[in-house]
């Protein structure tokens, strides 16, 4: 499995998991209409200080075999190209070429 793009995407996922709770908290607190506005600004500041790679939007679902960023099904976690290759070897039990 190719390594380089995999590594950076993995790092983003780890960071997103690590900072998730904090991020949610800050975001929620800054939108609270009842808090005084300087506290809201403080929380907004803290939210902006979090590392950029810790958002979930930055992680891209890449194919786990080929690191293809496009055409990756979430159910399988790989692309249809890989599916086709491995299915012709017989790696997926019970998968046959469709014919009806």
């Amino acid at each position: 499995m190719p390594e380089n793009r995999n590594i950076s995407d993995n790092m983003r996922r780890m960071l997103a998991e690590k900072y998730e709770l904090r991020r949610n908290l800050y975001k929620a607190l800054c939108r609270d209409p009842e808090l005084p506005s300087d506290m809201r600004e403080q929380h907004r500041n803290k939210l902006s200080k979090l590392p950029r790679s810790s958002t979930f939007t930055r992680a891209r679902n890449q194919c786990i075999f080929t690191d293809r960023p496009r055409a990756v099904y979430e159910f399988f976690r790989f692309s249809p190209i890989v599916f086709r290759e491995l299915a012709s070897w017989g790696a997926w039990t019970g998968v046959k070429k469709a014919c009806w």
Partner: protein, 102 residues
Amino acid sequence: MSSGRLKSMLASAVIAGVTEARARIFGHILNPTGQKSLHKILRKKLFGDKVAEWYPYDIKKDDKLVMARKEEERLSKLEMLKRRGKGPPKKGQGRRAVKRNK
């Protein structure tokens, strides 16, 4: 006409009472005025660990021989490129770095 208005008032009062009772029984948070509230953001379930577990563990990492062979292959490939003069440039000499430092 006024009876119609009375009826609608009664109906809205009844509905409000019912929603309040429901919230009290089940522990929901009410927001009858519809103002922005924290509840919506905080009630979302945490899915960070599912996101982090996208890439599966590579079994090849357990086998030291395979890893050693791979590392050797990588180094030999790098050597071949360097012999041809195609290896990676020194730090600060790449295309972008040169443009930036000019």
